[in-house]
């Protein structure tokens, strides 16, 4: 029974952390950190929230390595997709 209570406690803590980070990201959006600064901070908080959901609500924490591989592989592809194109818009060859 204690592990069942442990699970519920983990869910509650995860929920609390998600609410906290949501409040934080809404609050920070009204603070100007620069165009790129706001995007980076917003994306980092979103990534933290996503990691919490994946690890504790989707139980990735207790899963075997092959499920991690399936979950992480497309994320790596999306990162390549995004960052491979960034030089084109960030540093255009012609003004």
């Amino acid at each position: 029974m204690s592990s069942e209570h442990g699970h519920q406690r983990t869910y509650n803590l995860t929920f609390g952390a998600l609410v906290f980070f949501t409040a934080l990201t809404v609050g920070l959006s009204y603070v100007t950190l620069g165009h790129v600064g706001n995007i980076v901070v917003g994306a980092l908080i979103a990534a933290t929230k996503a990691t919490l959901v994946a690890l504790y609500f989707m139980h990735l924490k207790g899963e075997e390595r092959w499920i991690f591989t399936i979950a992480l592989f497309p994320l790596a592809l999306v990162a390549v997709l995004t960052f491979a194109l960034m030089p084109d818009v960030g540093f255009p060859l012609q003004p």
């Binding site: 699970h7 519920q8 609410v19 917003g42 996503a50 994946a54 979950a71 497309p74 994320l75």
Partner: protein, 204 residues
Amino acid sequence: MSTAHAIPAESQGAASEHTLVKFGMWLFLASEVMFFGGFFSSYMITRLGMKPGVVEAWQEELKPNRPLAAINTLVLIVSSLTMAMAVASARKGIKNRTVLLLGLTSLCGVVFLIVKFFEYGAKIEHHHYPSSHVLYAFYYMMTGFHGLHVIGGLIALWLFMCLVSKKTADYTGEANYGNIESMGLYWHFVDLVWIFLFPLMYLI
């Protein structure tokens, strides 16, 4: 697999089926990551390539939607909590509690869609259509596809509420909760997409 140890030898077939169902769902979610990943990357690249002031002007138009979008974020987080609790109940074989928690999860999904309905209504009232601007095209496309995923999740939730309530088939218990667990993975994924959509679309 950690759960396999807890399953008696006679239900090992069910355990491998459980693994297969989960494997299939994770593969599906991987394809979904690529589906939404394409949207997100093209949206960010488009924004970064825009002339100064264009994105800011659009952000000002979306600012009134922030409180509702924040409420929707909380609604989906609550739904993820109830979904995780529903899966835990299904695993323990507590049918009534599972149905109740699936019902609460679906209620959150319905609230999310109602809020979204009013948001779209206000946008259309102000003559902001997908054809108005490329950023509005992204807005409608990304939130629209996310909304369709919520609708898909609701259908699955209602289906499982009926299936779990029926006495003829068993979808709960250590050996049989795999389907509900996989549906939970899908629902959490829909929450995950919104976790990125909310700040990247409404806040920054």
